[in-house]
């Protein structure tokens, strides 16, 4: 039987899921964490602690006050050293709370037991409040505050919860391991989210390169009504919400609309786990699973890491040094993640992998002229014309960019990956997209 996938564009880069077999290990809290105040999409959180304050694991340290923002909690117990700038994965300095670890004391309200609670007591409204309070954000990469997805605008309803277990980026294995090891909790979390969104049906999409996870989730989901596991053909960028909804439900989200406009809510499996822990166990988002991997590493692994841990600690935990000729260190997936300039960058809520890329793979080839072969158009999952957008953005023709749909670009990088002339398509498109969005914002304000 042919497996489902999305219809337009897409690529299939080498999967390189090297760390798929490594069970999740727990990384002990580091000596000091620096927790950035801007880990999510939207406005940065406002700190509520000051220098010298004692905090426990799970203490609220910053409140998300804007509509799109998220609370941030202490991930270790200890003393607040300072609130200062730290270089995060954006490469720029952003405000962060520095905490020195002293012991490992958790807030009393947090249920640390392993026992599975499947009965859902709170009302839907209360669940959404709880998700907001516990600072849950999308853990697939974009880190969009989860509670916002469940606050439906007037007159909108959803009928399906789409759960993203696709993990279409090469190398990454964090969601894969979570699905294998925490399947009961994920399914319980899905039940919680179904109740919060008042939907009856949940579909979990998993790519076929994770047969063990598909088997495990299917077996566990058998007895739960309204939860379905669908294996998907391996294809990038299937984990993008628009592509996933197209693949699973054959619904197309019009330009500029949200999944809710076609009756869907999308969440990652790791987010489902976080929601379960937040609602049933009262545990804020203070740790996440991160894969550390790379072809030249002799060992790879998946670690449960406290938020704010410097990324270099993962290498230490593996007992590895940075291999010779490593030319790029990427936080996130190799297609959409960001190359970082120091091993001190803190792990944030949206980082699912930490990848050391060898020089032979990372370098760009020499750029040649575009011969209009159309390969970028063929692979664009949004049906755009990357070669044209690149040219328009390069010439600063922002009007042309806008009418050619540059804001629909999901920045998946398929065009740059496939271009035989190695043109920097995505670089220019991103630049053009940012400029067009700025112009559109200014126009709206007028």
């Amino acid at each position: 039987m042919k497996l489902k996938t999305f219809k337009l564009g897409g690529i299939h880069p080498p999967e390189n899921k090297l760390s798929a077999g490594a069970p999740i290990e727990i990384l002990p809290p580091p000596g000091e964490v620096n927790i950035p105040l801007s880990q999510h999409l939207g406005a940065p959180a406002v700190p509520v602690v000051k220098k010298g304050d004692k905090v426990k694991v799970g203490t609220l340290i910053a409140r998300g006050e804007a509509f799109i923002s998220a609370n941030i909690h202490a991930s270790v117990s200890g003393t607040v050293l300072k609130i200062d700038d730290v270089v995060d994965i954006s490469g720029y300095r952003r405000k962060a709370v520095f905490i020195k670890t002293e012991g490992d004391e958790w807030e009393d309200s947090i249920d640390k037991s392993e026992e599975l609670i499947s009965e859902i007591k709170p009302e839907p409204i209360r669940i959404v409040e709880k998700i907001k309070e516990m600072g849950i954000v999308g853990m697939g990469g974009a880190a969009f505050p989860t509670h916002v997805k469940y606050m439906f605008p007037e007159g909108k309803t959803a009928d399906t919860l789409v759960v993203n277990g696709v993990e279409c980026e090469p190398y990454l294995t964090a969601d894969h391991r979570v699905m294998l090891e925490k399947s009961d909790e994920i399914l319980s979390g899905i039940q919680v989210m179904k109740k919060a969104g008042k939907v009856d049906r949940a579909i979990i999409g998993i790519e076929a390169n994770k047969p063990d996870a598909i088997e495990m989730m299917t077996k566990k989901a058998e007895n739960i009504p309204g939860v379905e596991v669908v294996p998907l053909q391996v294809f990038y960028p299937q984990g993008a919400e628009k592509q996933l909804i197209k693949a699973l439900l054959n619904r197309e989200i019009p330009s500029g609309k949200l999944p809710l406009d076609v009756g869907c809510i999308t969440n990652n499996v790791a987010t489902a786990l976080a929601v379960y822990e937040a609602v049933q166990k009262n545990k804020p988002l203070v740790e996440r699973v991160v894969a550390i991997t790379g072809k030249k590493l002799s060992k790879t692994g998946n670690f449960k890491v406290r938020i704010g841990t410097p990324a270099g600690k993962l290498l230490e935990a593996l007992g590895e040094e940075i291999p010779a000729h490593t030319s790029k260190v990427i936080c996130g997936g190799p297609m959409m993640g960001k190359a970082v300039n120091s091993l001190e960058v803190p792990i944030t809520k949206g980082i699912s992998g930490f990848i050391l890329i060898d020089g032979s793979e990372a370098g760009r080839r020499e750029m040649e002229n575009c011969i209009r072969c159309g390969k970028c158009v063929y692979v664009c999952p949004m049906g755009l014309e990357p070669y044209l957008l690149e040219r328009l953005a390069e010439n600063k023709n922002y009007g042309g960019c806008e009418t050619s749909g540059i804001v629909d670009c999901i920045e998946c990088g398929s065009c740059s990956y496939t271009c035989p002339a190695s043109r920097p398509l995505l670089d220019y498109i991103r630049y053009g997209k940012a400029s067009v969005m700025r112009i559109m914002r200014e126009r709206r304000q007028k």
Binding site: D85, V87, S90, G91, Y92, R93, S327, A339, N341, G363, R364, P424, D427, Y428, R430, Y431, A434
Partner: protein, 308 residues
């Protein structure tokens, strides 16, 4: 003669005559009355179409000038490439007084050369400052300093700004600069500033725009302003031109008397000038020629020149 030739000549002749009459009538009927002064003023302007005046090219500017002349006021109009000479000529032609504007030039306010702020990272993306700036802090770790990929060079119509291969920083050739402001506009980090050329070409400026704390800045760059405030203290009271805010000194060109007292005081040598500063024993010491200083070349080269 062969009628095969005569007929076409005859027919085309009639068509041409008809077309000529039509064109003549149309040109008469739809004639646009244009102020002849616009063309005259246009001839007085430099014709560079740089846009430095804020109007779309020289013609747009001359239309605006004639318009303003009809209203009897030419205040606020300035042609940066032409300068005061051009403007006074225009004023004489239109019979009005014009603003006497001080001549200005672009100044690069970053001293983070390859030597002073070594590269920490390798950037292999498209060579555009705007893209590099959007991606990360820059190869030398300074989030506010020059990216060095030359967007300003590409945009300059007068060939007045170039990247120095040794330092990796842009340098303004003051003789060619018409201070149209194109580079100021395009620089994503707002490093380039248009400053008055100063009396007798004497001017002083702080060659840094980094507002981070001193200790943080020094880690990445040896030539940065650390906001110590020494220059502010030494600046003569009657001038009071230097202000330190957010760990960054700024010299107000309107107030600066170009005495040069602040230059030897600066512990990082972040204050540059186009003339020889007063105290010779200090580290930023010996004088450089105007062109050298603007070029921001290393102190050593300047020293050698003085010896010669």
């Amino acid at each position: 003669m062969n009628p095969l030739i005569l007929y076409p000549v005859f027919i085309l002749g009639i068509v041409a005559a008809g077309a000529a009459v039509t064109l003549f009538l149309v040109a008469k009927k739809f004639k646009v009355d244009e102020d002849p002064r616009i063309d005259e003023v246009l001839d007085l302007l430099p014709g560079a179409n740089c846009g430095g005046c804020g109007y779309p090219g020289c013609r747009g500017f001359s239309e605006a000038l004639v318009d303003a002349a009809d209203n009897g006021d030419l205040a606020g109009f300035m042609c940066p490439p032409g300068g005061s000479d051009t403007m006074s000529e225009v004023g004489r032609y239109l019979g009005l007084d014009v603003d006497e504007a001080e001549p200005t030039a672009a100044v690069v306010r970053c001293g983070g050369s390859r030597q002073k702020a070594p590269q920490q990272l390798h950037y292999d993306g498209p060579a555009k400052c705007a893209i590099s700036h959007a991606l990360f802090r820059g190869a030398n770790g300074c989030p506010l300093g020059c990216v060095g990929l030359g967007d300003c060079v590409d945009v300059c119509d007068f060939d007045a700004i170039h990247i120095n291969r040794e330092t990796g920083l842009p340098e303004v050739e003051t003789e060619k600069c018409v201070s149209c402001g194109a580079c100021v506009e395009v620089c994503p980090r707002e490093i380039i500033e248009i400053r008055p050329r100063g009396r007798k070409d004497r001017r002083v400026w702080v060659c840094c725009v980094n507002k981070e704390k001193g200790a943080v800045v020094r880690k990445n760059c040896k030539a940065a302003c650390i906001g110590c405030g020494k220059c502010e203290k030494v600046c003569p009271e009657k001038a009071g031109a230097i202000r330190v805010e957010n760990f960054l000194a700024y010299i107000d060109p309107e107030k600066c008397i170009a005495c040069g007292l602040c230059i030897p005081e600066c512990p990082t040598g972040a204050i540059l000038a186009t003339f020889q500063p007063p105290k010779k024993k200090s580290r930023a010491a010996p004088g450089k020629t105007a062109a050298e200083k603007v070029a921001g070349k290393k102190v050593e080269t300047a020293k050698e020149e003085v010896k010669q």
